[in-house]
């Protein structure tokens, strides 16, 4: 078990969104305000960590053939718990994320990590893998939110900061390109972020080879 390596993988070299390209639906759909991104990121991190631990704990007694069904039941159970908790304690988040909270069940990141990591590794390693991958996902969501919010609406921290929780106005409201807060913006910003990641990874690889 190598925590430093796992952390670096989750955050950069094997980032769930930018490198593995999983969980795109929620990444693009809900990143319109800082609050949404943070809430979604935390929810996924919690569910991913818990389901990783459980799946890794039961991996030896689950027959190979029905493992996917078992994964889905475990994940769906946790998603339901988190969904009900959010509805009870943060109803505003529940309304703005809407159908995307129950849809965490089919978020490929969680099923992907279950299949590729926690089904093969011990409980402790799976626990940290869940946390680190979750952080990697959250960071990407927050970056997307900040870019789309700043360039699309000219604000920062929508949902938490500023008057009426609409965020702090940084760019005067007549300038921003409102297009970025629409679905189009999600595709374009994520495309550019992945391109940047590929460029950066290729560059650091070249550097290592030339040494």
């Amino acid at each position: 078990m190598n925590l430093g390596k796992q952390f670096k993988e989750g955050l950069i070299t094997n980032n769930p969104v930018l490198v593995q390209v999983l969980g795109m639906c929620s990444t693009m759909a809900i990143t319109t305000s800082f609050f949404n991104g943070l809430g979604m990121g935390l929810a996924v991190t919690v569910i991913l960590t818990l389901s990783n631990v459980i799946i890794s704990a039961i991996r030896k007694i689950v027959p190979d053939k029905i493992r996917i069904a078992m994964f889905i039941v475990v994940i769906a159970g946790f998603v339901t718990c988190v969904d009900l908790l959010i509805q009870a304690y943060v109803p505003s988040l529940a309304t703005s994320l809407g159908v995307f909270i129950p849809l965490i069940v089919v978020n490929c990141i969680i099923l992907g990590r279950a299949e590729s990591f926690s089904y093969k590794n011990g409980v402790a390693a799976s626990f940290f893998d869940g946390i680190f991958q979750g952080i990697g996902y959250t960071v990407v969501l927050l970056i997307m939110c900040i870019i789309r919010e700043l360039l699309g609406a000219g604000t920062f921290g929508g949902g938490i900061l500023g008057p009426d929780l609409k965020g702090i106005q940084i760019i005067p409201s007549q300038f921003p390109a409102g297009m970025l807060t629409l679905p189009v913006g999600g595709f374009l910003v994520l495309g550019c972020l992945i391109a940047f990641m590929q460029w950066a990874l290729a560059k650091s690889k070249n550097k290592e080879e030339s040494k």
């Binding site: 390209v21 639906c25 889905i72 769906a76 129950p102 849809l103 679905p183 189009v184 460029w199």
Partner: protein, 196 residues
């Protein structure tokens, strides 16, 4: 008459104005994953349409006559995903026995549909919008047709992208996402669509 106008509005909305891919962001994973060739895209689109229609019908029945009747609405997510998973499994077995040619054509795409968020999404949206049985089925099928339209158009563009000249960093997913973004921009034009 009202019923028919309502259904037509749902259809047009699901196929064009509120397209599952371009305006609701549901089903992006298979949309990006299975769109390198037009043939496979068509297969995937048809399979998804079929499953979405069937899942809408079955989940409506389960929701109305089991979950609501016994006050178990909080179990919706778990129940729906199980219903969809078993439905996909059944379809797979049925096709294997009765229509082997279609089964081989759809190949690995069938099991993948279980984790397609468009299928679970349409079922949850049916509940959220409190659609009746016919409305649910129509929304499911037309939502699937919208997916089919989007993935076929996207795959045909992607086939041509191979010859395009773009920065190396954009290779693979980024250029696909930018293309999808531009298509979403075009589809946004349909949101002004008001027939009635």
């Amino acid at each position: 008459m009202d019923q028919i106008t309502n259904l037509l509005a749902i259809m047009l909305g699901a196929i064009l104005a509120n397209n599952f891919i371009f305006s609701q962001f549901l089903g992006i994973c298979p949309f990006l994953g299975v769109s390198k060739k037009v043939d496979t895209a068509v297969g995937m689109g048809i399979a998804v349409t079929f499953v979405m229609g069937l899942a809408s019908a079955v989940c409506y029945v389960v929701n109305q006559f089991v979950l609501i009747k016994f006050g178990l609405e909080y179990m919706q997510t778990v129940t729906f995903i199980l219903v969809i998973a078993s439905l996909v499994q059944f379809i797979e077995m049925f096709l294997q026995k009765s229509m082997p040619s279609l089964y081989t054509a759809l190949g690995i795409y069938l099991p993948l549909i279980t984790t397609n968020c468009a299928v679970l999404g349409v079922v949850l949206l049916n509940v959220q919008n409190s659609y009746g049985f016919i409305e649910s089925v129509v929304y499911g099928i037309t939502g699937g047709l919208g997916f089919l339209l989007a993935i076929v158009l996207f795959a045909s563009i992607r086939e041509r992208l191979v010859f395009a000249d773009y920065p190396k960093a954009f290779e693979g997913f980024p250029i696909a996402l930018v293309t999808a973004g531009l298509m979403a921009l075009a589809f946004m034009g349909f949101s002004g669509l008001k027939v009635w």
